[in-house]
Assembly symmetry: C2
Homo-oligomer: 400 residues x 2
């Protein structure tokens, strides 16, 4: 136990083994002003309701009103009642099953804490959201990646594994405009996945940060409408502002108490002020619809600009589908000598950045993913996106 | 693995074994309007800088300014730079060692996550802060309680245990106006504790939510000034407002990276907006001093009112020292037939509530603590505190 003040001998095994998120480390490297970054996962600040949050704060913190002291005081671990009810209406579920979290990230962590014993199987789509895998990995699961395609998780492959004896605690999906693949889980596969959950006795974690950022087509019915074994996650981060750190989880009743106790130990409760702010803005239904509409139109314009620029600059060297929503394009470099991790180094030299596909796969499958890249169109304007595509072309050509 | 949708068979062992905080469950029971509650741990909302937070939000969210978009966007896991630097100045430590947390509660949880392997020894003072024990227990330590008295942790008893082979990962203390005991660790014991940490190779977690709420005497030098093995925790909750959920931790460099990675998985980062708000208010040094002075004067008046009412109503039936700061009186019922858990039931019938001492001890020592009670004077006015003392007297007399 003895050691000098400089030795990390006191670290837990968990801490000593932890690795940083590849994306977040990358983001630091690509923050130089001359780089056009398609690597981030940030929403466009042009969509932040700055004016409305400012006005809402004025109303909430009116010293003569009753809410000011409440909004600044400790609050219930479950969350502010008004916001829980509003989320329950959006989710069409009982408010008693809704818990407000410090962003969806906390919900992912608390799901790990309450469901995962070391060695438990957790299924993620391959590729999957890095932050979710990081949160789950904190609880020592065996992460199993099941491939996805443009219609989301291959539930046929999942069923095959289940029949061969795979026993997951839960299956994690971003069912709408997934990060990174942009895929939306098809209606038929949702029916299939819900059926598998009920037959094989696992939980579905349905994470949905991007569902409302849709400009084409209609959303299939959510998984929570198809099974009682679903934990649904939502967040204010992409429809209001991530700086609030307000998310929510709707869960089966048997999970509520353990989840709340876990949250109590984790941070007592989510910022009361920010919960009231989220409630103020989201309960203004017409205003929220108008603001969101403007955001979605902007994302659509950006998505189309990046997609057409990639196609016209890179032609058959890249395989990339247009997006119907969300914040990302998921592309494949068709030349098999291009490894996107190496391409990234060249790209940075040419003043453009993206996230190589390997970041999004469980380690065993990372090598199969070297031809993929994730491109965010959310924060650059159309001209910059076109220039980014030109720079990417130059980086690709440097391989020839 | 099979089970119906209603079975909690999927819970992790950790979740299945968790218990709720006694205090938080009690708080729910004592929220009825006819009860004068001395049970809470809430700061007095009269001290909340409502007007200043409102004004600061106006400045920060000026749409023509540069900060608005930053304050609503994702931010670095470590925290907003300006706030880290401000905390570093307050702590007289390098800003690279300061991490902003979602309240001190999150810091306690992340300390558990980064330092505790199952079975590791963690020393807490007996009695100790319930929320800390709850956070640590999430990581399966062996919690060892070492008695404290009116000068804080009995470091002589700790040394005895260390010499007999106790090997703690860390020792947790609330060194100023401890919750629940109100005790301040004496200067001599701080020197001793720091020396023990260096000799025996453990870390000291110095949690300090109440240190600035002092109206008498001067604060001994902090433990971080005496050893490099100290993690110091602070919070905006008692000096600004708890609803912001902004806390901070200053730690040795070897802990920074693992701590940040753990926080990344836990909630990505603390609310950017609230960090900017805390920075705005705390960097107004003169304003903060004035506001805090008014709060401290109010707490002093309340503490004196409750103490004198207890002494005059209960006389020799109660042993309670006056407070020099903080939010709590810690009292002992001298009649050995009074168990404070049973007294609480009677007290609630008489319209007053407190927290029985047993809540604050590790389970093995809980039975030794049945004569103690924690009384918060923070939220009631002097007249109500006097009435609360009268009701407590009536409850005590019902035993005769």
């Amino acid at each position: 136990m003895m050691g000098t003040a400089n030795t990390p001998v006191l670290l837990s095994h968990r801490a000593a083994q932890s690795r940083s998120s590849v994306i977040r480390e990358l983001l630091k490297l690509t923050e130089q002003p001359h780089i056009l970054s398609l690597a981030g996962g940030l929403p466009n600040p042009a969509g932040f309701p700055i004016h409305e949050i400012r006005k809402a704060t004025q109303r909430l913190l009116d010293p003569s009103g009753e809410i000011a002291a409440k909004a600044l005081q400790y609050g219930p671990t479950e969350g502010v009642e008004q916001l829980r009810h509003l989320v329950a209406e959006r989710f069409n579920c009982p408010a008693t099953g809704v818990i407000i979290t410090t962003g969806s990230q906390q919900a992912l962590d608390l799901i790990g804490r309450t469901l995962i014993d070391p060695g438990d199987v957790v299924v993620v789509e391959s590729p999957s959201y890095v932050g979710a895998m990081q949160a789950f990995n904190g609880w020592d699961p065996q992460l199993v990646g099941i491939p996805g395609d443009r219609h989301g998780l291959r539930t046929d492959l999942l069923e095959e594994r289940l029949r061969r004896g795979l026993e997951p605690k839960f299956v994690y999906v971003v069912a709408n405009f997934s990060n990174p693949s942009g895929a939306t889980l098809s209606d038929a596969r949702r029916v299939h996945l819900a059926d598998l959950a009920d037959r094989f006795g696992f939980v579905i974690v349905e994470d949905d940060p991007y569902g409302e950022l849709r400009w084409e087509g209609t959303e299939p019915a959510p998984l929570r409408a198809r099974s009682e074994r679903v934990i649904s996650l939502g967040t204010a981060s992409k429809i209001l502002a991530p700086g609030l750190r307000v998310g929510w989880a709707a869960m089966p009743q048997w999970l509520v108490d353990p989840f709340v106790r876990a949250k109590q130990g984790a941070d007592l409760h989510t910022s009361t002020l920010n919960q009231y702010l989220a409630h103020e803005l989201l309960s203004d239904v017409a205003g929220q619809r108008a603001r969101l509409g403007a955001s979605v139109a902007r994302y659509q314009q950006q998505a189309m600009a990046l997609h057409s620029a990639l196609v016209s600059e890179l032609g058959s060297a890249i395989d990339v589908a247009p997006a119907a929503g969300g914040m990302f394009l998921w592309a494949r470099m068709t030349a098999d000598f291009i490894d996107t991790e190496i391409l990234l180094q060249r790209a940075i030299e040419h003043g453009v950045a993206f996230v190589p596909g390997s970041a999004f796969f469980v380690p065993e499958q990372a090598s199969m993913s070297r031809e993929y890249l994730r491109l965010s169109f959310a924060t650059l304007d159309p001209d910059s996106l076109a220039e980014a595509a030109r720079r990417l072309k130059a980086a690709v050509e440097s391989f020839a």
